[in-house]
């Protein structure tokens, strides 16, 4: 079937797809997200195809194989889901495949060694929705990811895709905007600007041309929410953009994707092409008379290009530098035309809001932050990955229930939220509900949704130094406070971590933070002080320990720590001495060893290899 020419035809097409589905056909879903592919999921899928080809003929096993987007539980990949039972198998290797087919597909039994095991209780959980990592999630933006094949528009339509668009095309554009306003949806890219307000401002500006854009330049270290959506459900983004374009009166859209996301670029390109073939993009969409198309722009990898004005300069073919936004993008954005720029996750929410209504969406979340938010939960938690939860969930619930607690039973110290220019929130504030306003009040920010969990072995001065270093590298260099202020901040932090810090250092750091916050040109610069400000605010004692006592309480800052061997615990096994790159550990076999501190480079190898935990850091 070629073009779909009307809303009725779309319904009929969906019914036809539904009629062709074999209801009792067992299906394996093999994750084809970036993480699982890197872990070899392609080989797993091939193994399934092989086994089915061999056995299907003999024993008449009928099995559907589908490759999907990212399930979010990437550290356990490759992930395989067996339907209709909804059994999740982790870390599946090609050699496990015959057993899965034999036991589970044919025999209906569970392969215990491949199911999730709780790291704390040791309990085994086989069913997808009972695993703590998934049990507490509420998936809207990620609604299809992991269940549909992102390269198949039919799969998307069958799952209810483009029904939001069909409904939108029967509405008046201003009513769509009102609906989005009433839903309370706020921009998921970081600043949390109300989406409906942005659309209304853009629609109100007199202009012959308007643009809608999608910001897929996700660059925060450890964050992969947007990548996962673009890879796993590209049509959700496209559908959202068509609805937005119709609402504000735009006929051309751009998706800006960083080029380091090849799978996202590929899946989006396939999706755009398929949508054009079906008449969902291009001229006269679904016979409505409305025309709109989308172009993909691949970014060159500068972090600052995620900033809206820099992103637009980059699309225009100029150097990606921010400009003063005294005149907003909704008035003069891309090519000086009124432009709506929303983040990937924001766009992916739009079709559901239109389909199910503003009241439904606004019933979730908190007073000021409605709906759900996708977070990439990383760091020292047992379960890391991508999760979607209602706004207002506490940090502690996220870390303990979904994240499964801190690795190795260590103490939970802090979370860093909001990407490199976010801030650190201490454990004592972990009952804080996560929403735009509460995080900002606590000195951090929502950002795009990166959550890095830190345990007691993390030095907060070192954390501030790491993020400041990242920002020094990524500052575009246009304005003085960011270009010249950040390197000076890094100098001061380096001094403190290397034992040269004074009270004056701390005062100067605070002065520079003030200067950046007030004086920098763009959002990258004005928020660049957050890592330092928030760690000084909550962990001032750690800074003071570095400065006054010349000690790093967490035992991280190399210049301030010494390694020694506890003679009581050392068995004289010689393992540390063999591995020491400086060969500065001496001692006779079966007698306690000694580290020559004058030659020790504090690399920590001895501590890592010691089977008796005899190496002490002080």
């Amino acid at each position: 079937m070629g073009t779909i020419n009307s809303i009725e035809e779309l319904d009929r097409y969906r019914q036809k797809l539904a009629a062709a589905v074999k209801p009792n056909l067992p299906t394996v879903l093999v994750c084809f997200g970036t993480g699982c592919q890197a872990n070899g999921s392609r080989l797993v899928a091939e193994a399934f195809t092989e086994v089915i080809k061999e056995q299907g003929l003999q024993v008449n096993v009928n099995l559907g194989i589908k490759t999907t987007g990212c399930h979010g539980f990437c550290e356990n990949g490759p992930l395989v889901v067996l339907r209709p039972q909804d059994i999740l198998y982790l870390k599946v290797k090609p050699e496990d495949v015959p057993e899965i087919v034999e036991e589970s597909v044919k025999g209906g039994r569970i392969v215990q060694r491949l199911v999730y095991q709780d790291k704390v209780t040791g309990e085994q959980v086989a069913h997808y929705n009972e695993i703590p990592f998934y049990k507490h999630q509420l998936r809207i933006a990620l609604r299809h990811i992991g269940t549909i094949d992102p390269t198949s528009i039919d799969d998307y339509i069958l799952a209810g895709g483009y029904a939001g668009l069909a409904k939108a095309l029967t509405m008046r554009p201003e009513d769509i905007i009102t609906e989005v306003e009433r839903s309370g949806l706020r921009g998921r890219g970081g600043a949390g600007f109300p989406t409906g307000t942005k659309w209304r401002s853009c629609a109100a500006v007199q202009s012959d041309v308007r643009y809608v854009m999608c910001n897929g330049d996700e660059g925060d270290p450890g964050a992969f929410m947007d990548r996962s959506i673009m890879e796993g459900d590209p049509h959700a983004v496209i559908e959202g953009m068509i609805i937005g374009a119709y609402a504000v009166g735009s006929h051309q859209g751009y998706i800006y994707v960083r080029d380091e996301y090849p799978l996202a670029v590929r899946n989006l390109s396939i999706a755009i092409e398929a949508a054009r073939e079906k008449g969902l993009l291009g001229k006269n969409i679904l016979g409505s008379g409305f025309s709109f198309d989308i172009k993909i722009i691949r970014g060159g990898g500068a972090f600052v290009c995620g900033e809206s004005s820099a992103l637009m300069r980059s699309v225009e073919g100029n150097v990606g530098e921010p400009r003063a936004k005294y005149i907003r993008s909704v008035e003069r954005g891309l090519y000086n035309k009124p432009t709506v720029l929303n983040n990937v996750e924001t766009w992916a929410n739009v079709p559901e809001i239109i389909l199910k209504g503003a009241d439904w969406y606004a019933s979730m979340g908190t007073e000021g932050s409605k709906g759900t938010k996708v977070f990439s939960l990383v760091g020292k938690v047992n379960n890391t990955g991508l999760v979607e939860v209602p706004m207002g969930i506490s940090i502690r619930e996220l870390v303990e229930n979904i994240g499964g607690g801190i690795q190795g039973g260590k103490k939970f110290k802090a979370v860093q939220t909001g990407g490199p220019s976010g801030g650190c929130i201490p454990e004592r504030l972990a009952d804080l509900p996560i929403d735009f306003d509460s995080l900002t009040k606590a000195g951090s920010m929502m950002g795009s949704g990166g959550i890095i969990v830190m345990d007691e072995d993390t030095c907060m001065v070192d954390v501030a130094k790491y993020f400041t270093g990242f920002l020094v590298e990524e500052s575009c260099g246009k304005c003085t406070p960011c270009r010249d202020g950040l390197p000076r901040m890094l100098d001061l932090l380096t001094d403190i971590t290397e034992g040269r810090g004074t009270e004056e250092h701390l005062a100067m750091l605070e002065e520079l933070c003030d200067l950046l916050t007030w004086g920098a040109l763009c959002g990258l610069g004005t928020s660049a002080a957050n890592p330092v400000l928030s760690t000084i605010r909550y962990f001032r004692d750690e800074y003071e320990a570095h400065i006054k006592d010349k000690k790093c309480p967490a035992g991280v800052c190399k210049a301030l720590i010494t390694y020694s061997i506890d003679p009581e615990a050392c068995t004289g096994c010689r393992l540390c001495a063999k591995n020491c790159p400086q060969t500065c550990i001496t001692g006779e076999r079966k007698k306690p060893h000694v580290i020559d501190v004058s030659r020790c480079i504090r690399c920590g190898v001895c501590k890592d290899v010691c089977p008796y935990d005899a190496v002490r850091v002080s």
Binding site: A302, V319, V472, T480, P481, R483, G485, D491
Partner: protein, 242 residues
């Protein structure tokens, strides 16, 4: 153009809507320091941040760069509050640490009471060490001269204006507009024996037929003739002898 009234430091001034705060202030004799902005260069400004002032509008206050903030009815600007002074001093201290050799920066900083930068200084003798990376030179080249011989390259603290790959540019006409516009005199323009050297390239100068002084690069004459259709003989004499 629509006329509006704007308050700067308590006084009411009339101005055309969307003129920048800095122009309105200058016309009325109010001092706001400025480095990267030039009134004749449309997209200049906004990068050095020394002209930050308080803008009060709609019950909200923020610091804005006077050189590109458009005046609208109801705007009140304060150019000398403790906040403005504090941030201005901070920026000048950073610039002083970056270019301790620049007299312009030293003077401007001294005026705000900053005589010494407490941070690690960038030491060096070359012209780079007077450059504050404001980008005005590149805007002049592109928007006034129209040749795009230089652009800002690199990022962060290493950002600098340069010709492609730091090699002599094919399109540079040696006009020196970049050097004349540079607020800190960081661009070297040298002339000796009828040859001008700028941006790693030598330019043959045309001599005035009256006084014999070499006064304009031949490449610049070629460019003007091509662009404007002006008669070449016009350039036989320097401006003093036309």
């Amino acid at each position: 153009m629509e006329k509006i009234s704007v308050i700067i430091d308590g006084k009411v001034f009339e101005a055309e809507k969307d003129t920048c705060v800095l122009e309105v202030a200058r016309r009325n004799g109010i001092y706001i320091p400025s480095l990267c902005y030039h009134g004749e260069v449309p997209s200049s400004g906004g990068s050095c941040r020394v002209c930050l002032v308080e803008a009060h509008q709609g019950g909200r206050m923020r610091l804005v760069t006077a050189c590109n903030y458009p005046v609208r009815q109801g705007l009140e600007v304060k150019t000398d509050t403790p906040l403005v002074q504090r941030i201005r001093r901070g920026i000048l201290e950073l610039l002083l640490a970056r270019v301790p050799n620049s007299e312009v920066i030293r003077e401007m900083a001294a005026k705000e009471g900053v005589t010494e930068a407490r941070f690690r200084k960038d030491e060096g003798e070359s012209e780079r060490y007077k450059c504050i990376a404001c980008g005005l030179c590149t805007h002049v080249c592109a928007e006034v001269v129209g040749v795009h011989a230089i652009a800002m390259v690199g990022r962060g603290a290493d950002k600098k204006p340069a010709t492609p790959y730091d090699k002599p540019s094919d399109v540079c006409i040696g006009c020196g507009a970049c050097a004349y516009a540079c607020p800190t005199g960081a661009i070297q323009l040298k002339e000796k024996d009828g040859i001008r050297r700028i941006w790693h390239k030598d330019f043959e100068m045309v001599r005035c037929s009256v006084c014999g002084v070499p006064y304009i690069p031949k490449a610049q004459v070629d460019w003007i003739v091509k662009r404007t259709g002006k008669d070449r003989s016009f350039f036989d004499r320097c401006p003093d002898h036309r």
